[in-house]
Symmetry: C2
Subunit: 177 residues, 2 copies
C-alpha cells in the first residue's frame, strides 16, 4: 500500500496555516495541524524569517513527502496583495528548499474537494475537514484551509483534482464561487 | 579599519539582480554582480526555487556580512504585483535563512544615494554605479540597481541613509520621483 504524507499550507503574512495528513491507500489520516504566526511589530525581513523557519520546522518534524499550497488572489488593496505575495513566496521557498514537490490549488478547488461545491463558507470547510479526517475538535480556519489543501492534493492524485476553474467570483481577495 | 561586505538585491520573478561590494573605511570596492534568471516556462514553485537557490549560491560564494533589498511597489497590474511579491519573499527568505541581516530601501532612496536625486533614469543609475565603483564596463540595469542598493546601504551606515520618502510618484510599478 502506497503511503503519502502531504503537507498543506494556507499562506499569510500574519498567520500561515499548516496541516499534515497521510494518505494510506484510499484512506486519509490526520497527522497534525496548526498555525505559524508572525509578529506584526517586526520588520518584514523578520516576519519572512518567522514564516520560513516555521515551515522548515514543520517539514523537519513531520517529514512530509509532498506539499500543496493554496493559491492566493489579488486583494482589493494592492499593498495587501504585495505583502501576501511575499509571505507566499517565503512559504514556497521553505518547501522547495526542504526538497518537497509543491502543487498549487485555488480556494475554489479546495472547497470543491472537501465540501463538493466552490461556494462553501469557511465554517463548512472546517466542518467537512473535521468529518473527513475524524477530528476530535475543530481546527482554526487557517489550519482547516491548510488541511483542505492537503485533502485536495490527496484527491488530485486519484484523478479528481481537475476541477472547474472558470466563472469564479472574488470577494476580499478570496475566490468565493 | 572596519570591512563590510554588502549584498544588494533587486528582486524580480523573471530577473533578480545582485551586486556585492565591500566597504573598506570610506571606500567602496566592487566585488561581483550579475543576474539570477528564472525560466518563464516553469511552474511558480520551480521559479521560486531558482531564485532561492541562486541567491543562496551568491551568499555562499561571496560571503557577504549584510544584505540590502530594493523595496518594490504595487504595479498597475495586480497579478504582476502578486508575482513580484512572491519573488521578493523568496529572495528575502534566502537571505535571512543564510543568516544575513536584511535592510530595505526604496527605488527613490537608491537613486538619491547614487545619483543625488530621486528622478534619475535607469541609465543615470548605471552610469553613476560605474563611476562610484570604477567599473571597467556597464552592468545590466538589474545588476546596476542591485549595486545601487548595496551602495545605498553603505551610505546609510554613515548616517546619510535617511532620505526623503514623501511625495513619490509611481509609474509602471516603479517609484520615479
Amino acid at each position: 500500500m502506497s503511503v503519502q504524507r502531504i503537507l498543506g499550507i494556507d499562506p499569510g503574512l500574519r498567520v500561515t496555516g499548516f496541516g499534515v495528513i497521510e494518505k494510506q491507500g484510499a484512506q486519509l489520516i490526520y497527522v497534525a495541524s496548526g498555525c505559524i504566526k508572525s509578529n506584526a511589530d517586526q520588520a518584514l525581513p523578520e516576519r519572512i524569517a518567522s514564516i520560513f523557519s516555521g515551515i522548515r520546522e514543520v517539514v523537519s518534524t513531520y517529514a512530509p513527502t509532498q506539499a500543496a499550497v493554496e493559491k492566493v488572489f489579488v486583494n482589493v488593496n494592492p499593498q495587501a496583495t504585495l505583502l501576501l505575495g511575499q509571505a507566499r513566496g517565503a512559504a514556497i521557498a521553505a518547501l522547495v528548499s526542504g526538497g518537497l514537490p509543491v502543487a498549487e490549488y485555488t480556494a475554489l478547488q479546495l472547497k470543491q474537494a472537501v465540501v463538493g461545491h466552490g461556494k462553501a463558507a469557511k465554517e463548512q470547510v472546517q466542518h467537512m475537514v473535521v468529518r473527513l479526517l475524524s477530528l476530535p475538535g475543530t481546527p482554526s480556519a487557517d489550519a482547516a484551509d491548510a488541511l483542505a489543501c492537503a485533502i485536495c492534493h490527496a484527491h488530485a492524485g486519484q484523478g479528481t483534482g481537475v476541477l472547474q476553474t472558470t466563472g469564479r467570483r472574488i470577494r476580499g481577495g478570496r475566490v468565493i464561487g
